[in-house]
């Protein structure tokens, strides 16, 4: 059972939980959602009579198969289930939509009635860690999930105007750093995990991973990498206070809404400066400057003394730019841009990794520090990890790393054959870059790059 086939079931459960919380019982939308969820459960249980979804720590299993990628993609749903004390869910064919409704209501907190004795049962078959295969990348995923938890907790604190502590941030970065140093290739591939519902948090973790990789490339020691990581993880924390209506606006922002968004670097820097514990000095600068451009454009307008375009002593304002921007801010602004462009946001479809590289390359010396642009391009290679490439013969391959660290020799796995059929268990193949005729978006191929994380590790080993 692969992540790809489990994806449909988890997506259906998430939708059911949302709709049950949103609409009254019997509403046509809920009815359709529950029907779809029951059908999805039957699809994955086909031939077996039942299927068990198990939650252990930071991982989801379908029967005994680890759902590595889904564990992160559905991390929010997983946490909701854990909060309700759910260790396992057993779907027994034929799955009744009403039973799925009870499950969704229980997870959503609408009802406290634990589904029992029906076609959907809770905690009947909890498996322990010893019974489950030990996932090779459990540590990396756990670090990722832990960082998401920290950001969620900070989100709650910031929304309630309570200062947060930097200690948890430091722990999360320490964990991510350890994992990225140990498995640099896999961590880059992991940074392709996306979530539309929790875009800011996933984006922050991805930016952190990319920044740590770049920091390592430019020779930062571990102490400095920790400082960089904390700033990268918190760089968008100022968006937490921005209303959802603005963040999720399906188009470009104008007027007041755009002004609100432009305030997030200031808001973030202030939240970080107000945080307790050590380590906020550079993090505040990164949050403050990550939208400042190398040529002095961008926002906020830096170098002001009184915010009116001139110094408080009446001196003419000279915008802060170039190397006057903090080294780490210049670095993070590139990782930030790369992850943002390759992610679907409310106002823009995702771009391919190479297109994102091109945007960065075009911005060298105007938007971005040209030295860091080169560093980033060397780090990611011609086809960055997660790129989906169409070959001359019609096959689709995904980049899972670089051969011997050579940026123009990507390692790939075949994900779709010449006929366009998905490969159930993709495997690495030999590849010549001149076979590439096009680059595709994950949405069009139907494969999330991070779902093939294990391949990167197997191959590296």
């Amino acid at each position: 059972m692969s992540d790809i086939s489990a994806h449909g079931l988890l997506a259906a459960v998430r939708r059911a939980v949302r709709d049950v919380g949103l609409y009254p019982a019997g509403h046509p939308t809920t009815v359709e959602t529950l029907d779809a969820c029951a059908a999805a459960a039957e699809d994955v249980a086909v031939g077996a009579g039942e299927v068990v979804l198990t939650l252990v720590g930071d991982a989801l299993y379908l029967d005994r198969n680890l759902l590595g990628h889904a564990s992160l993609e559905y991390n929010g749903l997983m946490r909701e289930m854990q909060q309700r004390g759910i260790d396992s869910i057993t779907f027994i064919v034929p799955v009744m939509p009403a039973d799925v409704g009870d499950l969704a209501a229980f997870i959503a907190g609408v009802s406290d009635d634990v589904p029992a004795g029906s076609t959907v049962r809770l905690n009947e078959r909890p498996l322990t860690l010893t019974e489950l295969p030990s996932p090779e990348l459990a540590g990396l995923r756990s670090s990722y999930a832990g960082s998401l938890d920290v950001l969620r907790a900070i989100g709650v604190a910031v929304r309630s105007d309570v200062d947060f502590g930097m200690g948890a941030v430091a722990d999360a970065v320490e964990s991510l750093l350890g994992q990225t140093l140990e498995q640099p290739g896999a961590s880059l591939l992991l940074s392709t995990v996306k979530s539309h519902d929790e875009y800011t948090f996933y984006h922050s973790v991805n930016t952190c991973i990319l920044s740590l990789a770049m920091g390592r490339l430019v020779g930062l020691d571990e102490e400095r990498l920790r400082v960089l990581g904390a700033g990268a993880l918190l760089h968008d924390i100022g968006k937490i206070g921005v209303p959802q209506g603005v963040l999720r606006n399906p188009g470009r922002l104008q007027g007041h809404d755009w002004e609100l968004i432009k305030r997030h670097p200031q808001e973030g820097a202030q939240s970080i400066l107000a945080a307790s514990g050590a380590g906020q000095e550079v993090a505040s600068a990164i949050a403050f400057e990550h939208h400042a451009r190398f040529d002095g454009s961008g926002y906020p307008k830096l170098g002001h003394s009184d915010g009116h375009g001139h110094g408080h002593n009446g001196h003419e304002h000279k915008p802060r730019s170039g190397r006057d921007l903090h080294f780490f801010s210049r670095l993070v602004s590139i990782s930030d841009t790369y992850d943002a462009i390759t992610t679907r946001r409310s106002y823009r479809r995702a771009e391919t990794p190479t297109r994102a590289l091109n945007v960065i390359l075009n911005g060298a010396a105007t938007s971005y520090d040209p030295d860091f642009v080169k560093a980033f391009i060397h780090l990611m290679g011609v086809y960055p990890p997660g790129s989906l490439l169409q070959l001359r013969g019609g096959e689709v391959v995904m980049v899972i790393g670089q051969e011997d660290g050579d940026p123009h020799r990507p390692k790939v796995a075949l994900v779709k054959d010449r006929m366009g059929s998905a490969i159930p268990e993709p495997e690495p193949i030999d590849f010549a870059p001149d076979q590439v005729v096009d680059q595709l978006l994950p949405d069009r191929v139907g494969i999330d790059p991070a779902s093939l994380l294990e391949l990167a590790v197997v191959d590296a080993a």
Binding site: L22, Y23, T29, V156, S160, D161, V162, V218, E223, R224, R248, N249, P250, G251, R252, I261, Q266, Q270, L273, A274, E281, V282, S284, A285, F288, H304, S305, G307, H312, R323, H326, F327, F328, I341, Y347, R348, R349, E351, T354, R355, L357, L361, N362, G363, P370, D371, K374, A375, I377, H378, G381, V382, G405, P407, H408, P433, V436, V437, D438, D443
Partner: protein, 650 residues
């Protein structure tokens, strides 16, 4: 006590309105008092000891309008659905916190005792998970058995019809259900349009606009879903259908729904369609691209260039890969070398610069934040950083935070007053106690820093230190505090002068000592006036304070001291005159000698006179010593004293 019915019963014409007005007034007062109390609670470790907190509790007791239900919104309070404007940060923070805890109403049932208020604040500021585990803030307050105050869960305050439900009709839901599979949706669209691209364009756009408009304006998630559904379906349409569709959307590119649709496209996707558009449509696309760039919402900068140049989108995508490859090859594919890497190596920031970085950020934020509450928030952050450094014993850092903002302040003159005010509020007794403790550790790592910090803090802490000095019994600490206050007075003695009229003699005495150390001659007049103070101890210190301020010019006052009614003052005066070279001193001392009939004082005078030993002094003393006949006892005392002095070997 229930005042509401007594004020406005239902039978009174217009009574309900009167009651509502009174209730509203009470709510405004209660919110302000709660806000003040909450702000104090967050700021001080012992809020109950703060005057403002006590006053807030009194104000709540004086409301006289119970039960008083106050509604909670996201960061605001309301009464009877009318929003109450908030003046205080504390009130806003309280509203937000209540909202986060899903509290829909705070109900005051009677005067709220200090303890009850503390319980509520403690619950609200506890770890959110713990509160949730306990059943929520409303449950914990209920379980605490408080009668005066109650928190009501938001669900309990909602009328059935208030339940939030996006206003989506069945058509929207059916369409979204269909659009969940974009490929199928596209196929349905093509079929319904009878395979006619132009017809599809019209139907596609009209469906899109209809569904978009049907959604509740507040249903942002729904709108996002609709836009996404149609955009995704677009990409499953054959290219022949896509081109007229883009052209149709471009015709209405300035309308929000169509703009949102076009905004979803990446640059190269639009560029892919561009060559097949007719002249008008292409012109509209260029115009759209220019506007999209101007609004600077993160749109890829190369969009315009792409539209102007690219003719074959697949080719353009691949050109990017070639460009990147070239760049990497140019550096010989060697990741660990290259000028760029050397340059970045050289620029790696040193950890010792981190502090200056954060300080720079704070200064720039001060320069950017002009709105009142945002500026106040920054002040709180600044104060918080200073306080945290002091508490953790990093006084050097605390100094840098204070100096970094106060020296060449990043704000205009009108805001500087607020900086000083914030600094003054920051100086809580607890923090000052820590600093004074460090003052004692002579030679310790923080001793110098504590002294410097207090000096820098200066004016805002002066009055608090004076009070602290008044209570201090340890002589060593007293000396240190006087030194610190002296340093503060050197910069600005003004805030200390008000204490000269204090009814406590010891406070005034301390002030005289401090002003003496200020080195500011302009305060000498005020010090001189202390020579008329009722308490001799004040006069003594005033006498001692004047010479450092006035130099030789103080001698008149010192000499005047010789004739003070109290011997301690005269003694002090004498001590000061011992080494004075002023020409009037000898005469004055001899006059004092001639006026005294106190044996001990006469000995002290002769002691000083003999030290001076001028011919005039010796002649004067000799005049007393050589008197053969003296009629008074005093005269005999003076003669004997003079003789003893002159007989002593010199």
């Amino acid at each position: 006590m229930t005042a509401k019915p007594a004020v406005a019963g239902p039978s009174t014409p217009g009574g309900e309105e009167v009651a509502e007005d009174l209730g509203r007034a009470a709510a405004i007062e209660a919110i302000d008092a709660l806000g003040a109390a909450f702000g104090t609670y967050l700021l001080y470790p012992n809020p109950e000891g703060q005057l403002i907190y006590q006053r807030s509790v009194e104000r709540l007791a004086e409301l006289g309008y119970w039960p008083l239900p106050i509604g909670i919104g996201a960061g605001f309070f309301h009464y009877e659905d009318e929003r109450i404007s908030i003046e205080r940060d504390g009130a806003e923070r309280l509203a937000k916190l209540l909202f986060v805890h899903d509290i829909g109403e705070i109900r005051l049932n009677s005067a709220v005792p200090v303890e009850d208020l503390a319980v509520v604040f403690e619950i609200l500021t506890s770890d959110e998970e713990m509160v949730q585990d306990g059943g929520g803030a409303h449950v914990l307050v209920e379980m605490s058995g408080l009668a005066s105050i109650r928190l009501v869960h938001r669900f309990a305050t909602l009328e059935p019809e208030d339940e939030v439900e996006p206003d989506r009709d069945d058509r929207v839901d059916r369409l979204l259900e269909l659009a969940a599979d974009p490929e199928r949706f596209a196929a349905v669209l093509v079929e319904e349009a009878g395979n006619d691209p132009l017809r599809l364009a019209e139907r596609f756009v009209s469906w899109y606009l209809e569904i978009y408009e049907r959604l509740d304006g507040n249903d942002v998630a729904g709108r996002e879903e609709v836009v996404r559904a149609f955009v995704e379906a677009f990409f499953y349409l054959p290219q022949a259908f896509q081109v007229p569709l883009v052209a149709r959307f471009l015709e209405s590119k300035d309308d929000k729904p169509c703009q949102n649709f076009l905004d979803q496209f990446s640059g190269h996707e639009l560029a892919g369609v561009a060559p097949q558009l007719d002249g008008d449509s292409r012109e509209r696309l260029m115009s759209y691209a220019r506007v999209a760039l101007d609004t600077a919402d993160g749109r890829p900068e190369e969009l315009l260039a792409l539209l102007q140049s690219a003719s074959e989108v697949k080719e353009a995508r691949m050109a990017v890969a070639r460009r990147v490859e070239q760049l990497i090859r140019h550096d010989a594919g060697d990741v660990v070398s290259g000028e760029w890497l050397d340059s970045l190596h050289e620029q790696r920031p040193d950890a010792r610069e981190d502090f200056a970085t954060a300080l720079g950020v704070l200064r720039e934020l001060f320069g950017l934040e002009h709105v009142g509450d945002r500026f106040r928030r920054l002040l709180r952050i600044w104060a918080g950083r200073v306080a945290m450094c002091i508490r953790t014993g990093d006084l050097a850092a605390a100094n840098r935070w204070v100096e970094g903002v106060l020296t060449d302040p990043p704000v205009g003159p009108e805001r500087r007053v607020q900086l000083e005010k914030a600094l003054a509020e920051m100086a809580t007794p607890k923090l000052l106690e820590i600093l004074v403790g460090h003052l004692e550790e002579e030679g310790g790592p923080n001793n110098e820093a504590a002294l410097r910090l207090l000096e820098t803090w200066g004016r805002p802490v002066a009055d608090k230190l004076v009070e602290r000095l008044a209570e201090e019994e340890n002589p060593n600490r007293r000396r240190m505090l006087i030194d610190v206050l002296g340093s503060i007075a050197r910069i600005d003695p003004e805030p200390l002068l008000s204490f000269l009229g204090d009814s406590r003699w010891y406070v005034v005495r301390n002030l005289a000592m401090i002003l003496g150390k200020s080195g500011r001659p302009e305060v000498a007049g005020r010090v001189k006036s202390l020579m008329r103070h009722d308490d001799h101890r004040v006069r003594v210190e005033a006498l001692r304070a004047l010479p450092p301020l006035l130099g030789d010019a103080s001698v008149t006052n010192t000499l005047a001291g010789l004739s003070d009614a109290h011997p301690r003052v005269r003694q002090a005066s004498l001590a000061l005159l011992r080494n004075s070279e002023h020409p009037r001193v000898d005469d004055a001392l001899l006059d004092a000698f001639a006026a005294s009939d106190d044996a001990e004082e006469l000995d002290r005078l002769t002691d000083v006179l003999m030290r001076r030993g001028s011919p005039k002094v010796l002649a004067g003393l000799a005049g007393h010593a050589n008197r053969r006949v003296t009629l008074s006892a005093g005269g005999r005392l003076r003669r004997d004293a003079a003789r003893r002095a002159l007989e002593r070997p010199r």
